[in-house]
């Protein structure tokens, strides 16, 4: 881990102290090894226990303006004309293989890292704890803003849920999105709530005490009454039997601390040491969001919870609220802009103003598919690189091809059967909607693979077997290109000086004799190159006993 030290201007160290510090730093630097004994890290160290954190509520509008008008966080250096290549800031919170270690606060490796059964994918964060129907559900709170109503309910076991409904115009749309969105993001590795589709009649609900609801006619809060539940019929969609259909989102355990942003760190959480705009799991979230058209993936849709696990109290970072994915904008269907353009973009706006609207961006001219249960979706013209959330996101904008590759591997790991099984959980009443959404996700998945595997050399899944280095060409594996040639160069590697020494004449995947005869803990590297000489993968092997362990992977593009 690299630490940055700063010296305050007002408290300068005397010169001898500076010399001592410099000497110490130099000593540390010279003694630093590229790989440590525990590399590659598969698990992050357990978090330190934190307590007494304050709730920090993020303002929705402020977040919009801050990210639209400014550039918060540390950004990749833009390449300046005639001044050479830009200095790139690689992702952090990754191990030497470029993978994100399991971290209870942020990310758990699931699909793409290990086999996941269809049952596990469908179960998602949980599938057996919907609100109990043994008794009625007591309304203990009401959503006081927004277009469609929402309630907090307590079931007969005392468990709290948030009930959210579909808009009248789009039955099943946002509830379907919320339920299957949570399952996809869970499989991808994030912490999400358990969401369940529930169908019920008004008799299932009873009024709790002191529930307040916002009255749009008076502009004030007032006590909620039974009549508000009856009037729900006019505001939300119902199924063919006249029952309400809602998503019941099980309340998460822990103290809500507000949302996490896509830049900086949470200053009162000393486990949060990597700037969010440099986290691979947040940079890579761009690719997942593009695939699932989660254009509402903004900070306001995140949640920090102070939780206790294994006796340690720490901040767990959740993604919540997936009602505005695919073709849904939650309370209405998507418009053509969703996923294609930011809410405000200066250049297209000026072009449209100046040309009186004669010039139009591509997304305005595209054809979209409309279905009440899906909203408005498109895939023929979907270009992952052109996809955009509702407004700029610092982590998304900092992404590099390595971040995209890391994410694309996970997207491509969803088989057609897996996608179909998860979509089934939306419980669409129209089979056509289910088929359409499945097809949409399969086609967009393939476009993700095409776009991001091509940006670098997509060799992965390295291992040493029977004296040979083996790997998969992911473009070949997924049928995106035919089998193709590559070149290999071997070198021995000094872990302390970080120097490579070429091993002449070794150009196959067979491990060089020098490696087979080397002492334990020796390092060797294989540089693999395809047709494009700029795209290479360097695989580092460490000799552990008589075996070799893949210790590091470096990619250039």
């Amino acid at each position: 881990m690299m630490m940055m030290n700063t010296v305050s201007e007002s408290r300068r160290s005397p010169l001898p102290a500076k010399v001592i510090i410099l000497a110490l730093q130099l000593t540390l630097l010279l003694s630093a090894e590229k790989f440590y004994a525990d590399d590659p890290l598969e698990e992050m160290p357990a978090p330190l226990s934190v307590r007494e954190l304050k709730t920090r509520k993020l303002n929705d509008v402020y977040d919009l303006f801050e990210n639209t008008l400014g550039e918060p966080g540390e950004r990749q250096t833009k390449k300046e004309k005639g001044r050479g290549a830009a200095t790139l800031i690689p992702s952090q919170a990754v191990n030497t293989l470029g993978e994100v270690p399991n971290d209870p606060a942020w990310f758990t490796n699931r699909i793409g890292s290990r086999p996941m059964s269809i049952e596990e994918l469908v179960r998602g964060p949980g599938a057996d704890r919907p609100p109990s129907t043994e008794g009625t559900w007591t309304v203990v709170g009401a959503k006081t803003s927004g277009v469609t109503p929402g309630f907090r309910i307590r079931d007969s076991t005392g468990q709290l849920y948030l009930l959210k409904f579909d808009p009248l115009t789009n039955p099943e749309m946002s509830t379907a999105s919320d339920v299957i969105g949570a399952k996809f993001f869970h499989a991808l590795g994030y912490s999400v709530p358990e969401n369940y589709i529930v169908n019920f009649t008004p008799d299932q609900l009873t009024m709790g005490e002191m529930v307040v609801v916002f009255d749009p006619e008076s502009g004030r809060d007032r006590p909620m009454t039974r009549r508000d539940l009856i009037l729900l019929r006019e505001k939300v969609a119902r199924d063919e039997r006249g029952r309400f259909r809602a998503v019941a989102s099980r309340f998460l355990k822990g103290k809500c601390l507000g949302e996490f942003r896509y830049y900086g760190t949470r200053l009162d959480d000393f486990n949060d040491i990597v700037a969010h705009e440099h986290r691979r799991d947040l940079r890579g979230l761009f690719v997942f969001s593009a695939w699932l058209n989660h254009n509402d993936s903004r900070a306001i849709k995140n949640m920090d919870l102070l939780v206790e696990e294994n006796g340690i109290s720490f901040v767990k970072h959740y993604l919540i609220d997936f009602g505005a994915m695919f073709g849904s904008a939650s309370v209405i269907s998507n418009t053509a802009r969703d996923g294609n353009a930011y809410l405000w973009e200066l250049k297209p706006a000026l072009a449209q103003i100046a040309t009186l609207g004669i010039w139009s961006p591509r997304w305005m001219r595209d054809r979209y598919i409309k279905h009440p249960a899906l909203g408005m979706i498109e895939y023929p013209s979907f270009e992952p690189e052109q996809w955009k959330p509702n407004y700029p996101n610092p982590a998304f904008q900092n992404r590099l091809p390595t971040d995209e590759f890391w994410a694309a591997k996970r997207v491509m790991a969803f088989s057609n059967e897996a996608i179909s099984a998860i979509v089934k959980e939306a419980k669409f009443s129209d089979k056509y909607a289910e088929d359409l959404l499945t097809d949409y996700l399969i086609k967009r998945r393939d476009k993700i693979g095409e776009a991001y595997f091509a940006k670098l050399l997509p060799r992965d899944e390295f291992k040493v077997s029977e004296g040979r280095l083996e790997f998969e060409d992911l473009q070949v594996k997924y049928g995106l290109v035919d089998d193709r040639d590559y070149q290999v160069e071997w070198s021995s590697f000094d872990n302390r000086s970080k120097q490579h020494t070429a091993i002449a004449g070794e150009t196959s995947l067979r491990l060089p004799d020098a490696a087979l005869q080397a002492a334990e803990s020796s390092f060797f590297a294989a540089k693999i190159q395809g047709e494009d000489e700029n795209k290479t993968v360097v695989v580092y092997l460490r000799k552990d006993g008589s075996a070799f362990k893949v210790t590091g992977i470096e990619r250039s593009w």
Binding site: I332, W344, A349, L356, S360, W363, M364
Partner: protein
Amino acid sequence: MPKLAGGKLFVDLLAQHRNLPRLEYFGPGPSSRKEDRSQFRLEDTSADFTVGYRPFKYKFSRPLSLGVTGGFLKVNTGPGNLSGLPQTADLFSPQETPGLDDQTDYLRGGFFVQYDYRDNPLGPRSGGNYVAKFTYYNDRDLNMHDFRSLHLEAQQYFPFLNKRRVIALRTMAIVSFENPNQTVPFYIQPVLSGSDDLRGFRAYRFYDNNLIVATAEYRWEAFTGLDMALFFDAGKVVPRRSQVNYHDLEASVGMGFRFNVQNSVFLRIDVGFSHEGAQIWLKFENVC
């Protein structure tokens, strides 16, 4: 007001009192002169009810409405309060401007039919709205101003480029049927020009018994939250019903900015131009 019978029946009640201290008046008819600008005060009090029926549901709304209306209207006019501007009563006679010397109270009632299938009435991008309304005005005091009024209006929206561009067309006619030996008082006559019609002219520029107007707008989205528009308005007022046609219309052109939140327009700025000059309109609502 309450929705009854599952939204099929509806009842609206509206009571209002207005005190407009300086309304402009340029004289009757299409040939009134800009130089004859005058002012008067209009005070009126009205209470009206509407009982309507929406027989069927289509998609997520009930587009067809049928109903009856009724109510009363009490009117008083007087001198305007803007110094330096002539009073209407000083420039025009009661013969050319009926009702100038004496105002009356009305009982009024009628019926209407409306077919509204706009996608979003607060910021329509597709669909249409068609209205026909007939109202009988019964002069309760003077027995000089009984008349019937027929209001016809059609709006149609043609979207393209995924509704980011819209051609909006609108036409409206108001035709008055005076009883024999009766007149329509000027303070209740159809008025042309304002923030919705003939936007290149001053507000309340044309008064007469009958009116016809047409508007065409090309609207385009500059970015989320701002639509822009080019518009062309044409219309006229005429004393006789037989003159209600699309000949010899006054015209204006202009450009507008429509600021919206979630596709509902909350602020509109239009700049209109005509042979009488330019006008700027600032409205906290959408154009029809």
